[in-house]
């Protein structure tokens, strides 16, 4: 929470600073961005059933547009009275971030805007044990490990601020929509790496990034 306040105040300060320099000539260099998503490992310490580790790789085309790739791994295990479930694998989201800030001055590494992504997940899942009970008695069964691929879209909104030169932190909230998964309805995944647990048609997400910005020559 404290970091969020720091980020907002730093963005506010940057915004005011930029207004004072609106007539300056601004050069926005292309950059590479290498970041790590921090909330996944933090959540894992609180809940070891869910592990998510992902990177952010981005190329800033100009002030407004960033090309983004977010590769990662995810692992999930869940158990309740009538079944247990495991899944794990890789995902990749690719797309763009659109900076909606109209600041014309330094620092140029702040961001407040939207992101659009297409994602693909390649993972395996299994149900080691499950049971069904009813009028006629109990029936135990399992579902063997199976490779699944899934495709999804994601829209996000968030802010990032430069806290140290070329070091940026920021958060975003994300909404993901599953387009297709190859397991069919009978073995529909309870969790898909890169999306999260599937409950309703929109899967929510939250990201907190620490990013290193590398200015490119020229």
């Amino acid at each position: 929470m404290r970091k969020t306040f720091v980020l907002f105040f730093s963005l506010l300060a940057a915004s005011n600073q930029v207004r004072a320099q609106e007539n300056d000539t601004i050069v926005v260099p292309s950059t590479l961005e290498i970041g790590i998503e921090l909330s996944g490992p933090l959540i894992y310490f609180a809940d070891s059933s869910l592990f998510n580790l992902e990177m952010r790789l981005a190329y800033r085309l100009n002030r407004k547009y960033h090309l983004v790739a977010e590769p990662g791994i995810g692992r999930y295990s869940y158990s309740q009275y009538n079944y247990s479930y495991k899944s794990g694998g890789f995902f990749l989201r690719v797309g763009a971030d659109i900076n909606l800030m109209r600041t014309k001055g330094d620092p140029v590494n702040h961001f407040a805007g939207l992101g659009l992504r297409y994602g693909i997940a390649l993972f395996s899942q299994e149900t080691p044990s499950a049971s069904w009970s009813g009028y006629w008695g109990e029936h135990s069964f399992s579902v063997d490990p199976r490779f699944v691929h899934a495709h999804f879209l994601e829209v996000s909104g968030g802010v990032r601020g430069e806290v140290v030169k070329n070091i940026v932190i920021g958060w975003s909230i994300r909404a993901r929509v599953l387009l297709y998964q190859s397991a069919g309805s009978g073995a529909r995944p309870a969790m898909i790496p890169g999306i999260g647990t599937l409950s309703k048609s929109i899967s929510p997400g939250f990201s907190y990034h620490l990013i290193w910005i590398i200015p490119l020559p020229g």
């Binding site: 869940y78 309740q80 009538n82 079944y83 479930y85 909606l100 800030m101 109209r102 407040a112 805007g113 939207l114 149900t127 499950a130 069904w132 009813g134 009028y135 006629w136 008695g137 029936h139 069964f141 579902v143 829209v155 996000s156 909104g157 968030g158 909230i173 994300r174 909404a175 309805s185 009978g186 073995a187 529909r188 309870a190 969790m191 647990t197 599937l198 409950s199 309703k200 048609s201 929109i202 899967s203 929510p204 997400g205």
Partner: protein, 152 residues
């Protein structure tokens, strides 16, 4: 104005995200039963069949319906078998209904886990009180859609 637009979009996304959050309790129908409706050939206007008792063959101690006036009954199936038999007693007449089916595993949700849907392959029955049974819908899912219709 751009900031306002941005905040509006962000708020819309936040609302979508929050509205999609769900509790961890299973709140949807999971079990698939055969919905069998009961009709009278002698009195087409009758809304129910009187004095009906239903139980699984060999399960006399676990009556599903005990001497009731019924227009619809739910018959549970068993995924570990390919057929089940039910005893349907109407007054002093007793019939046996043998239902053959295939089972299909379905993942319902994280909270509910798995269930089974069924497809009716064949229905055989005695005709002491039952005149005929029609298959209305052979695919059995959770819900109240009529699957079989029995005429007495």
């Amino acid at each position: 104005m751009p900031a306002l637009r941005y905040i509006s979009v962000l708020a819309a996304i936040a609302m979508a995200v929050l509205s999609s959050c769900s509790s961890d309790s299973c709140e949807e129908p999971v079990d698939a039963f055969i919905n069998l409706s009961l009709r009278s050939d002698t009195d087409p206007d009758a809304e129910a069949i009187d004095s009906v008792t239903v139980y699984g063959a060999g399960m006399e101690e676990f009556l599903l319906y005990d001497t009731l006036s019924l227009s619809n009954i739910e018959l549970p199936l068993f995924p570990g078998s390919e057929s089940v038999s039910y005893i349907i007693r109407h007054g002093s007449f007793t019939d046996t209904v043998l239902i053959s089916y295939t089972s299909e595993l379905q993942f319902i949700s994280k909270a509910c886990g798995y269930s089974f849907f069924y497809t009716i392959r064949e229905v055989n029955y005695t005709t002491n009180s039952i005149n005929r049974i029609l298959v209305i819908n052979d695919y059995i899912t959770p819900g109240y859609e009529e699957n079989l219709r029995a005429f007495f």
